[in-house]
């Protein structure tokens, strides 16, 4: 057996730098993003998508079944398309009807199973599912683009390239449920299967197959074929709200593992001593691609567009400074990262994603470290003295704040009784704070610290007197082993922008073209530029920051 020798690496960036909301809200997808990992796996498996069934009327209502063989298993996407009253078209969790609904099925469904899924999938949360159903999802049309593409294809023409470039998807998923929701299979049923051990792999496969279905559907209704370059630029949209944010708090080990993999990748590439001519050319090429991607990233929200425009300008200026002289062959990556330290967090994080992209051999294996197969393994703390040390060493960011000040506790997270939609309220203006969800980690750490006795006491004795502090104690016990487990900001403060948490998580999925609709809701594009089903062998792994090729 060969010994594994870890590549050299520079020091990791400290959690106090990395785990701030503003930086997390500046993240870009990388080659460690889950969709990228999935595409590499599909290519390695030489996966072929077959359309097993297509029962669709001329207007595009009916169902379809796609199958793919992976790692010795067959998975099927059952897609159900129904007519939707425009008045009912909302991306919110409170919706009760959608244009399309999907189940990723374990195996090949027979006619009875297809009929069952066609009856249940359109009901989504209101229905019950089985262990053969691995993922449940739904998507709404971008009505404007879908209708335009249909009209153009019916007229024997290709759609307007600018519309394809600017909108970028035919449908938006509004939920992609995995891991046991509404009776579907637990993740534990599939997480040892080839390709599915990484986080959200079944969900990502579903999303990619849905994108494929949307292409087929629009071509079916339009009775024509889309140009390949246009089709490749049509990803799959997604609308995401607050439901995604608590996940990062309630899964501290996963968050740590995702961030640690990414930071380790950066540390490895920073340690690259020599950049040959080929690598320098590739670096210049990716910098140009980033420039084009930023120019094509247009959103309706004025504030966010200003932010993109600033980044665009800054990036152009930064590139102009670093590119013309050529990159120093020695320690070029480290020098680039250092030069960016005086730039915005947006630019720094874009550069991080870019340099990671350059080195698949150093980076891609880290994707295997991003799951959490064992659950938290805490470092036991014996007494309150030891606990105090941990809190003051690892949670100083939380201890410094005054949570009685209105600006530090204005917001509260809660779950509405309306379809259990996660929401955020104003503690001083709305009812419901008594039912607050426990995302107030920083405040709890401070409260624990305040209640520690002056004289060190056995921790179990302390917890018997203060059981309300167990959550804070358990999070403290994770700090030594999982340095990136905590978002180092006050999540109930007035300044907290949940959109930062959403962008962090979505960037790990591989999302691009963030299109915020508020500080707690965003649209994104997934799979834009990703290989089409018949391109896995030829272009599976070069679609970081997609640019329009129409």
């Amino acid at each position: 057996m060969k010994d594994f020798i870890a590549p050299p690496q520079a020091p990791l960036r400290p959690p106090d730098t990395v785990m701030r909301l503003s930086r997390m809200g500046s993240m870009f997808p990388t080659r460690l993003s889950f969709l990228r990992t999935l595409m590499r796996f599909l290519a390695a498996e030489n996966a072929r998508i077959t359309r097993r069934s297509w029962q669709m009327c001329a207007e595009g209502y009916g169902h379809a079944v796609y199958c793919v063989d992976l790692g010795g298993y067959t998975y099927s996407l059952v897609a159900v398309s129904t007519k939707l009253d425009p008045a009912a078209r909302t991306d919110r969790v409170i919706a009760s009807a959608w244009d399309t609904a999907y189940v990723l099925y374990d195996g090949v469904p027979d006619a009875d199973e297809v009929a069952r899924i066609c009856a249940t999938a359109p009901k989504q949360e209101a229905a019950r599912f089985t262990e053969r159903d691995l993922v449940l999802s739904r998507a709404n049309k971008s009505v404007r683009l879908f209708a335009h593409v249909v009209d153009r294809l019916r007229a024997g023409r290709q759609p307007d390239a600018a519309m394809i470039r600017d909108i970028g998807y035919l449908m938006r998923t509004t939920a992609v449920y995995g891991n046991g929701k509404f009776g579907i299979a637990d993740r534990a049923c599939i997480d040892t299967r080839p390709g599915f051990s990484g986080p959200f792999m079944a969900e990502m496969l579903t999303v990619w197959l849905i994108r494929h279905f949307t292409h087929d559907l629009v071509e079916h209704v339009g009775q024509g074929r889309l140009d390949r370059n246009l089709k490749r630029h049509l990803g799959i949209g997604n609308s995401t709200g607050l439901g995604m944010a608590p996940f990062l708090v309630t899964h501290p080990v996963l968050l740590n593992n995702w961030m640690l993999a990414r930071e380790t990748a950066l540390a490895r590439v920073r340690a690259v001593a020599h950049l040959n001519e080929e690598m320098q050319a590739r670096l210049r090429q990716l910098m140009k691609r980033a420039d084009r991607h930023l120019a094509e990233w247009q959103v309706p929200d004025l504030a966010h567009q200003r932010r993109i425009d600033c980044l665009c300008t800054d990036w152009a200026a930064f590139s102009a400074k670093v590119v013309p002289d050529g990159f120093a062959p020695e320690n070029a990556i480290e020098a680039l990262i250092d030069r960016a330290l005086s730039e915005s967090e947006d630019l720094q994080e874009l550069l991080v994603a870019l340099v990671i992209e350059l080195f698949p051999d150093l980076v891609d294996g880290l994707a295997d470290c991003m799951a959490d197969p064992c659950g938290p393994v805490p470092e036991p703390i014996a007494d309150t003295g030891g606990l105090r040390d941990v809190l003051e060493r690892s949670f100083g960011w939380a201890l410094a704040l005054d949570y009685d000040a209105t600006d530090q506790c204005r917001q509260f997270w809660y779950v509405s009784e309306a379809k259990q939609e996660p929401r955020l309220g104003d503690r001083f203006a709305e009812e419901g704070a008594a039912l607050e969800s426990p995302l107030d980690v920083a405040r709890r750490m401070k409260a624990l610290h305040d209640d520690l006795p002056q004289t060190s006491t056995a921790l179990t004795v302390f917890l018997k007197e203060h059981p309300e502090h167990l959550m804070a104690v358990e999070r403290a016990a994770l700090a030594a082993r999982y340095p990136y487990a905590e978002i180092r900001d006050n999540l109930i403060g007035q300044q907290c922008l949940p959109i930062d948490m959403l962008r962090c998580k979505l960037s790990f999925f591989g999302a691009s073209k963030f299109d915020p609709k508020s500080d707690r809701w965003t649209r994104i594009t997934l799979c834009q530029g990703a290989p089409l089903a018949d391109e896995l062998a030829s272009r599976s792994d070069d679609w970081w920051l997609p640019v329009f090729e129409g």
Binding site: A185, D186, V377, A418, R423, E431, G432, M471
Partner: protein, 168 residues
């Protein structure tokens, strides 16, 4: 109808919170409940634990796990007698949530003689779907609903940060 273990975990966690448990104790209960029912153990034990809040097993057992982990820390294998509080099957389920390999060596009256091996990860449990505990699930559903904030126009309009129409 069968339930996934993730559903049971989420529902039991919310139910415990709705019944008054602090968040961490509720989360422990959720994990233990999913294993408990997945192992086909007595559903009534979970209902009793919820009924006993704000005292009882849901408050006590997470601290017993803390004591066990602390005692075992730095050792290869540690043996400890743990009182069950009259709920041996539920204590077994709590023990099976630990990341380390644990084994109930013997039962003595109202306690379990447990070994924990901190050098070995807990084995993967072969758990089934959850079926046939409708009364418990109904009880948990009622308790979980206590954690939901009643809907209001303000909440509906502003709480999610999105409008209610997406015809674009």
């Amino acid at each position: 109808m069968s339930w996934s273990r993730a559903e049971v975990l989420a529902l039991a966690t919310k139910a415990a919170r709705g019944a008054g448990a602090p968040p961490a104790q509720a989360a422990h209960f959720g994990r233990a409940a999913a294993i408990h029912l997945g192992q086909g153990r007595d559903a009534a034990a979970l209902g009793q634990a919820l009924d006993a809040l704000p005292a009882g097993a849901i408050m006590r057992m997470p601290l017993q796990l803390q004591e066990l982990l602390l005692a075992a820390h730095g050792t290869v294998q540690h043996r400890l007698e743990i009182p069950t509080g009259g709920q041996p099957s539920l204590l077994r389920s709590y023990l099976e949530t630990l990341p380390h390999a644990t084994e109930v060596v013997a039962a003595h009256g109202d306690s379990l003689d447990v070994t924990v091996d901190t050098t070995t990860s807990a084995p993967s449990l072969r758990l089934g779907r959850v079926e046939g505990c409708a009364a418990l699930l109904a009880q948990m559903t009622v308790l979980a609903a206590r954690t939901f904030v009643p809907d209001s126009e303000t909440s509906r309009r502003a709480g999610a940060g999105a409008g209610t129409s997406d015809n674009d």
